[in-house]
């Protein structure tokens, strides 16, 4: 069973679509964040796969490292927001925190 670039890209596409699905269906703010993490991981898989099979350089790895750092910063700030939301509203469901709509 051999594998190549399309296999890795397919795994990345699956991860991306599942992340989009999580962002679209989840109501819990932490669940939304997990969906975003899936999307970022899908992008990273694609970067590294292209770096190995097409580009033969190190650029894809460097960009993937940047993406990991950005994901860490995003997770820290977003989870702080979720905690603040829970403290001020008593819930983490994103569709019940809609004070600006009224």
């Amino acid at each position: 069973m051999s594998f190549g670039l399309p296999h890795f890209l397919t795994v990345g596409a699956m991860l991306f679509c599942l992340g989009v699905l999580a962002v679209m269906t989840r109501r819990n703010a932490v669940g939304l964040l997990m969906g975003v993490e899936l999307i970022l991981n899908a992008a990273n898989v694609n970067f590294v796969a292209f770096a190995r099979y097409v580009e033969h350089g190190i650029n894809g790895h460097v960009i993937a490292a940047f993406v990991i750092v950005l994901a860490a910063a995003e997770a820290a700030v977003a989870l702080a927001i979720v905690l603040a939301m829970f403290r001020n509203f008593g819930t983490v469901h994103v569709d019940t925190v809609n004070h600006l709509k009224r």
């Binding site: 594998f3 670039l5 399309p6 296999h7 795994v11 596409a13 699956m14 991860l15 991306f16 679509c17 599942l18 989009v20 699905l21 679209m24 109501r27 819990n28 932490v30 669940g31 964040l33 997990m34 969906g35 993490e37 899936l38 991981n41 990273n44 898989v45 590294v48 190995r52 099979y53 097409v54 190190i58 790895h61 460097v62 993937a64 490292a65 940047f66 990991i68 750092v69 994901a71 860490a72 910063a73 995003e74 820290a76 700030v77 989870l79 702080a80 979720v82 905690l83 603040a84 829970f86 403290r87 001020n88 509203f89 008593g90 819930t91 019940t96 925190v97 809609n98 004070h99 009224r102």
Partner: protein
């Protein structure tokens, strides 16, 4: 062969992340997804990234997520199933997106070259950080500082006491039950009920317990740190 093992672990646990009702189960499934992606990195010859994935994602982000899940735990009875009205449009969109991506993946004539033997990448990545990518590198360090300050400020002060949080949460969920039971009737009387509640809240000495509209079904305390909704006002909402 080992590629398929990692790919199956990654995709199956990603499915569990999306579809499991319990958010704790989703978080633990995310653990296996991240491990699977780290394995894919290792297969692709990205040794530094595989280790970074394990250290940063699993050791950092996942622990943060689990702590947040534990600190914002909603009781099991209040965990509600996501209805088909959310799954159907999301599923259709995700399937269409995957079909499009798969068509592009299989249809494109990628300029492939034979991969060769993987080499150690850490030193080269470090050299690139300090030469070609020096500006993004400094920018990311600044961003991390900003994120740290922002997170510290966001979680700094607590305006509500724990019992007020409990009251607001109870009001929130009871409001949702009213909406589900009464349906259209509350939608028509929703605005009036909101006004009554805000008047009652104003009479209570500027108390912050402004209930939300019955159509959306949330009852939460607003700003200014006043006393939140007492159980009496919550029961009044149920009567109205």
């Amino acid at each position: 062969m080992i590629f398929y093992a990692f790919a199956i672990v990654t995709v199956v646990s990603a499915f569990l992340v999306v579809f499991s009702r319990n958010i704790v189960h989703a978080a633990f499934s995310l653990l296996f997804t991240l491990f699977g992606v780290a394995g894919l990195y290792a297969i692709l010859g990205a040794d530094f990234l595989a280790v970074t994935q394990v250290v940063v994602y699993i050791g950092g982000i996942l622990v943060l997520v689990l702590f947040t899940v534990m600190m914002t735990r909603i009781p099991k009875g209040e965990m509600r199933r996501r209805g088909l009205d959310r799954y159907v449009p999301g599923g259709i969109f995700a399937l269409a997106l995957f079909a499009l991506l798969y068509k592009v993946i299989t249809g494109t004539d990628w300029p492939l070259r034979s991969p060769g033997v993987p080499e150690a990448t850490t030193a080269e990545i470090g050299t690139n950080f300090m030469t070609s990518y020096i500006f993004p590198f400094e920018y990311v360090s600044l961003l991390l500082l900003v994120a740290m300050i922002g997170a510290a400020i966001l979680i700094r002060e607590s305006k509500m006491k724990p019992e007020d949080i409990e009251a607001a949460r109870a009001a929130s969920y009871s409001g949702e039950e009213i909406t589900e039971k009464a349906g259209g009737e509350t939608a028509t009387t929703g605005s009036a009920a909101t006004e009554n509640r805000s008047e009652a809240a104003a009479e209570a000495g500027g108390a912050a317990g402004s209930a939300t509209g019955a159509s959306t079904g949330t009852g939460t305390a607003t700003e200014s740190g006043g006393p939140a909704e007492t159980p009496e006002t919550a029961s009044e909402e149920e009567q109205s």
